[in-house]
Amino acid sequence: MTERCLELLLLPEDSSCLLLDIGCGSGLSGTVLEENGHMWIGMDISSSMLDVAVERDTEGGLVLADMGEGVPFRAGCFDGAVSVSAIQWLFNADKKTHNPVKRLNKFFTTLYSSLSRSARAVFQFYPENEKQLELLTTQAMKAGFYGGVVIDYPNSAKAKKFFLVLMTGGVGPLPQALGTEEPDSLQVKYAKREATKGIRGKPIKNSKDWILEKKERRRKQGKITKPDTKYTGRKRSGRF
């Protein structure tokens, strides 16, 4: 899976990059990064897993940190970030004070700043349901990333793998998923940030829904409001 993450990272060929391994655990993914000639710094919340990584004599830098508290690195230092089977932990609230949405937000915003210009982040993860996928992509987008989810072997229950591919450089085509012929099958894409303003729960300003909501608000406030008719918020021609 780490090899596939590296593939999706699209690093410049034959160059040695500094990568961040999020949720590096015992350094299994880190070893693959090393074998491909890259230097990596890994962070994980479990000190016992990191101890195993030390025993395995990995060459990467290791940091004991909680990704939900933020990625504690300098701005623009990494050429890329990988994560194998780790970010789904952000959905759990392990402590009473944990707010998964805030943690996801903190994680993505700090990750965005720690990546260099046009760097990518690829996360292999296991989403429980559609809601999780949506939450993940919304938070990533709010942080300033573009990209989407690539699903390898979408038709196989066993081989199906989800990869969240995030780009900092701007809109670009998502890489093709393995095990698919049509390039557009079952890929969650998002490019324009303005189009998804509605997801925030409020209707887009000046749309018919917004007008109807505003009129309701005025009625509740006791202000005189014209009744809603079939003409309310109708599309006007250019002459208006």
């Binding site: 160059s15 040695s16 990059c17 500094l18 000639g37 230097m39 710094i41 962070m43 919340i45 000190s47 990191l50 101890d51 030390v54 060459e59 830098g61 290791l62 940091v63 004991l64 940190a65 909680d66 508290e69 933020g70 990625v71 504690p72 690195f73 300098r74 623009g76 230092c77 990494f78 402590k95 004070t97 903190k106 700090t110 260099s116």
Partner: protein, 125 residues
Amino acid sequence: MKLITHNMLTSKCLKGVVTGYPLAINATDIKVKEVDFNPEFISRVIPKLDWEVLWVAADSIGHSDGLPRSLENKYDENEEFLKKAHKVLLEVEVEEGHLTCPESGRQFPISKGIPNMLLNEAEVQ
């Protein structure tokens, strides 16, 4: 903890901290482990580093001899220099000690070579 990790590490996730860089090192145990020398990686990574911070960090743990305080032009052609940089960046490891945030004074312990950046609930932004 390698010095390359230290060069990138900040305490900016702490509440009230703006940059949280650089972290001061207090080392009680240091080891030197051999790592394969990759000159291409070293020359690629040097522009990303804060060289001054690296020098000060190396100096604070007593490994700055032979390391120039400022980068010369064409350092990527000077193999002697790259080898020294490689040693300081990847081979010298702080096994025990602590890091101190320059803004809040909060200390982060280093144990078995791994810095512990975990925050408690009151410290998260």
